[in-house]
């Protein structure tokens, strides 16, 4: 809630909005001009900018092959222009067909085709390598940050970052970065060739070429503005449309479909009018590029026209043709760069999501526990305090208890009393603010996650079933287990009857696009996982909260069998679970209020 409020405040400070974006921002507007895309915290935007700069530098190195093929292509193009000029000059002077120049032109054409193909391949490779690296990095960070992430964010949004946002970065590395480098290198190479053909023409080209950045600076907009505006406008239109389509059932059931369709049309029209007003100015920057290219062509053509007409000198023909043929080559890299700007905008949005991801933690020195299996597991909490959110008060407020090896402890109490926090500390999802939580005397915060995982089996409210077969889902607990072991675990979890009735038995696909499972069946798969894992400490967090009473009893029976011979901590506010057996610890407001043996 704190976060939501502070974001709301930021949104109202209009100064943090980009000046161009402000032109589209209208707080009194009832619809369309949703300020949220621009309301990201200033710090996120700054971090995204510096992230982009860093990645662009890294990308420039990776784009060297692309640049190389580009440069070779440019050199071949120069050769072709010279060869074509030679052929045409020879035709004019009435001499024989210049076969050598003609052959050179043809050979260079083939080379250029090959170079262009290789450029595309290299560009794809640069984009793919960057995506591979960034996706692994993003997913590693999410996996390391672990379950605590799911408290504030939806897993679907996180998956969007890993899949779509990373895909959106492709253009930055495969197109924008190479184009940005080549925008200087390409014209320079062509300029050298023109310098060789006709130094005065080189001056004209240089002057017109310099007009591009100077003109854009004077216009005060830059080629960026047009793209950014169009991009923002489109992004907002698409976001708004997606939002309306996602909620279409709500709209239809309130009988407002026609009104919404009409307002959608009105709003799109409004957006168009506003955007076009900005684009009218912003497109002037493209005019600079068009103008300088046209100006160079017109000036040079008229210059050579006059020169040739006055002198009638055929010697001027070759440089004239070469220069005029090279003029488009001079401006082509600038056009490509201007077109690739869209790719950078796509990347900016993605960068803002990526810099928001949690950083990879420092690997902490950790100890292993010895002699665990031999003597069983003893768990102890000593004056443990934990606060999730200061406004809500402490979740655990000096909690102490001890569970001996082989014992069952039932944590009872209303929700919010801190039961789940106990389980999450024991799973290593979170660390206590103060106090000690120990397993066989070793502080949990000192254990490496892998060691902790080996000791514990956990069953939560709703197990996550992965896409794949039932076998895959049980094997998740221990991938190296044999089929016999999987069948034994499934049988122990009372899944055997259910599996026998399935079309493909253990290999029936479940999850997305597969066979649907009821809550009770899903929970049995979680129990089978726990059997297969066979860990000495069993942590059960409201395992029957989402089941109807009849299924709850069946699942509790299975859990009771699983509990035999293990140390068990069961958190539940269900009265049925309190007949589970073992010692009971009543909790309220993060403290133990009473402890007694249950029947």
């Amino acid at each position: 809630m704190d976060g939501a409020l502070s974001r709301t405040m930021t949104m109202n400070v209009r100064d943090d909005v980009h000046p161009i974006a402000r032109g589209l921002y209208c707080p009194s507007q009832r619809s369309w001009f949703n300020p949220i895309p621009m309301a990201k915290a200033e710090s996120t935007q700054a971090a995204a900018r510096s992230w982009l700069r860093r990645e662009q530098r890294a990308g420039t190195k990776a784009a060297r092959p692309v640049l190389m093929w580009h440069v070779l292509g440019s050199i071949a193009a120069i050769g072709q222009a010279f060869a074509a000029a030679s052929v045409l000059t020879a035709a004019f002077t009435g001499s024989l067909l210049d076969a050598r120049a003609l052959a050179a032109f043809g050979a260079l054409a083939v080379l250029r085709a090959v170079f262009s193909y290789l450029t595309e391949r290299a560009a794809f490779a640069a984009g793919a390598a960057a995506r591979r690296r960034l996706r692994t990095d993003a997913l590693s960070r999410l996996l390391q940050a672990g379950p605590a992430l799911l408290r504030g964010r939806h897993s679907g949004d996180l998956a969007t970052i890993v899949v779509d946002k990373i895909e959106a970065l492709d253009g930055l590395f495969s197109r924008y970065v190479p184009a940005a480098t080549f925008a200087v290198a390409g014209p320079s190479i062509v300029l050298l060739a023109v310098l060789y053909a006709d130094p005065r023409a080189a001056l004209v080209l240089l002057g017109c070429g310099l007009l591009v950045p100077v003109g854009m600076a004077i216009a005060g907009i830059g080629a960026a503005a047009a793209s950014r505006n169009q991009f923002l406008a489109m992004a907002r239109l698409q976001a708004r449309f997606l939002d309306r389509v996602r909620g279409i059932a709500t709209i239809v059931l309130y009988g407002r479909a026609e009104d919404e369709a009409a307002s959608l049309g009105r709003a799109a029209a409004e957006l168009r009018v506003r955007t076009m007003r900005v684009l009218r100015v912003a497109f002037l920057s493209s005019v600079v590029l068009d103008l300088s290219a046209a100006l160079a062509t017109v000036l040079l053509a008229i210059h050579y026209f006059g020169l040739l007409q006055q002198s009638g000198d055929v010697d001027v023909l070759w440089p004239a043709l070469a220069v005029l043929l090279l003029t488009p080559e001079f401006f082509a890299p600038l056009r490509t760069f201007s077109a690739a700007y869209q790719d950078r905008l796509h990347a900016t949005g993605a960068a803002e999501s990526l810099v928001d991801l949690p950083p990879l933690p420092e690997p902490a020195p950790a100890r292993e526990i010895r002699n665990v299996a031999a003597q069983g597991m003893t768990v102890a909490f000593d004056n443990v305090r934990l606060t999730w959110d200061t406004s809500r008060g402490p979740a655990l407020d000096g909690l102490s208890f001890r569970v001996s090896a082989g014992e069952t402890l039932v944590l009872a109490g209303p929700s919010g009393s801190g039961k789940s926090s106990v389980i999450e500390i024991l799973l290593g999802f979170i660390h206590p603010d103060s106090g000690r939580a120990t397993i066989n005397g070793a502080d949990i915060t000192d254990l490496v996650p892998q060691a902790l995982s080996r000791l514990t089996a956990w069953i939560g409210q709703r197990p996550v079933l992965f896409s794949g077969s039932i076998r895959d889902n049980i094997l998740f607990a221990r991938p190296e287990a044999t089929t016999d072991e999987v069948i034994a675990a499934a049988t122990a979890a009372r899944l055997d009857g259910f599996i026998a009735g399935l079309p493909a038995g253990l290999d029936t696909k479940i999850g997305e696009g597969g066979y649907g499972l009821s809550g009770g069946q899903a929970q049995r798969i979680a129990i089978a996982r726990a059997y297969l894992k066979n860990a000495p400490l069993l942590l059960l967090d409201e395992p029957t909260a989402h089941l109807d009473p009849a299924t709850e009893q069946e699942v509790l029976d299975s859990l009771r069998r699983l509990a035999l011979g293990r140390t068990v901590i069961l958190a539940s506010h269900s009265s049925a679970a309190h007949g589970f057996g073992g010692r009971r610890l009543d909790m309220r407001d993060g403290k133990a209020v009473s402890a007694r043996g249950a029947a």
Binding site: A159, S286, V464
Partner: protein, 543 residues
Amino acid sequence: MGGPLFRIMGLWGRQTGWLLAGLGVSLAALAAGVGLMAVSGLAVGAALLASGLAIPALLRALGMARVVLRYSERLVTHGAMFRALADIRVWFFSRLARSSAGGLGFRQAGDVLARLVGDIDALDGLYLRILLPLASAVLLLPVLVLLLGHSSPGLATEIGALFAAAAFVLPWLAARASGRAGTGLAVEAGALRVAALDALTGLREVRAFAAEGRMLAAVQGKEAALLAAQQAMAGRTALAGAASFLCAQIAVLAVLIDAGASPAASIAAAFLVLAAFEAVGGLTRAGALAGHASAAARRVLEAADAPVPVPDPADPAAMPVAAGLSFEGVEFRWLPDRPMVFESLTLEIPQGARVALLGPSGSGKSTLAALALKVVAPRSGHVLLGGVDIATLPAALVRARIGWLGQATHLFDDTIRENLLLADPDADEPALWAALDAARVGEMVRALPDGMDTWVGEGGTRFSGGQGRRLALARALLSPAPILILDEPCAGLDAETERAFLETLNETAPGRTVILITHRLTGVERLDRIFRLSGGKAVAAAG
């Protein structure tokens, strides 16, 4: 392949004028560009022959025209594009609304809809990036052949054929390849998404079973498959691009070989050919884009053409005054090959009663809401509203009597006020506050700096789950509907928030019929009757 795209273009009918204007300016700008290049070649040749005195003036005019026309082209075509894509969205929204309540939105996950919206977005480039370049090529071909044919008919034919190959054949091949690859790419991308969702939805499981390395490897494996498919596709497009480039080069070579016959004309021809092929060089890429757009258009049309699930009666009965709801011998299943949800459901909910419907998942609790809202129709039996069969009533009027708050209830990315007004556009300020207070969020909203004008964020993400549910409840309470259906209103809320929400519910909506659909009761609900759904029937339970 072009079928779906033509139908999409048919939807632009209202904007024909603008689209044609854009096309006209675009072609004029192209003519000025190609003309400038050709005349600059002509200038050099003509100068030596001491002719063409008008050439400098022509060059200046063409240069000016080029700059002005390019600017106009950008403005007009972008304006036209905005108009066209607005029309497509309005059309799609209206079509989806006809059938949406039944299939999409009510039952299916939001990501199916999100993918469809992505498909619509893919159609945005249709006019600017595919249609305009293609039209330019269609115009350029005869011009090119006519201009060249003037001096050398043989050369004109040859170059015309090369131009057709570069501008039409190769792009068509690229479109076909991308259309085919599109299916494979979509499959690989889907697999990557599922692997990522598995790893992230299961973060607790992954940590508890120390499966981080395995999950990362699984995602990397799917990514490698996607990249390989993309690489193959990119390779084919690059090949088509290189082939198109070679066509241009062969054409120039043909002009050069022929240069001896008429040198001055050849110079102009070489420049003309270079400029013309340059103008269509991007068409192979446009072709690849068209392949994707065509597949997207097919999916969009499929969704838009879905049949209306429950057509309204031709001759509707009069709306009843009473607001009791009853089911008489209702038999229903979602699809012919699925098991029956209800065999013979009979259930009576009197006006003003507060009723709970219990049952495990899959027992048809939400189907009951869908039947009452005329989202689906029973196979046999009747659903009665105030004693009148709803099959004889228009869906819009039935829905006006029933407020619905379900798991799929959506908070729009808009202000709190706009979200509330959806239920009753004419509600005044006191009515809005009364609804917020009844849902116990009035205080929270008053404390916000912008009050009711605060944006709720995408899907209500600016507020906690409990607050979001209460805002949705306030909206449902604002609607004057005498019946409220609350379908698992607490799904996804933690138990404490759930309790507080249900306690709020006890004190709101006095006098309305309240139907609470849930898998279990928490004990705080105050109810008149409790029914348990099982085996396709409703059984009265103790309460």
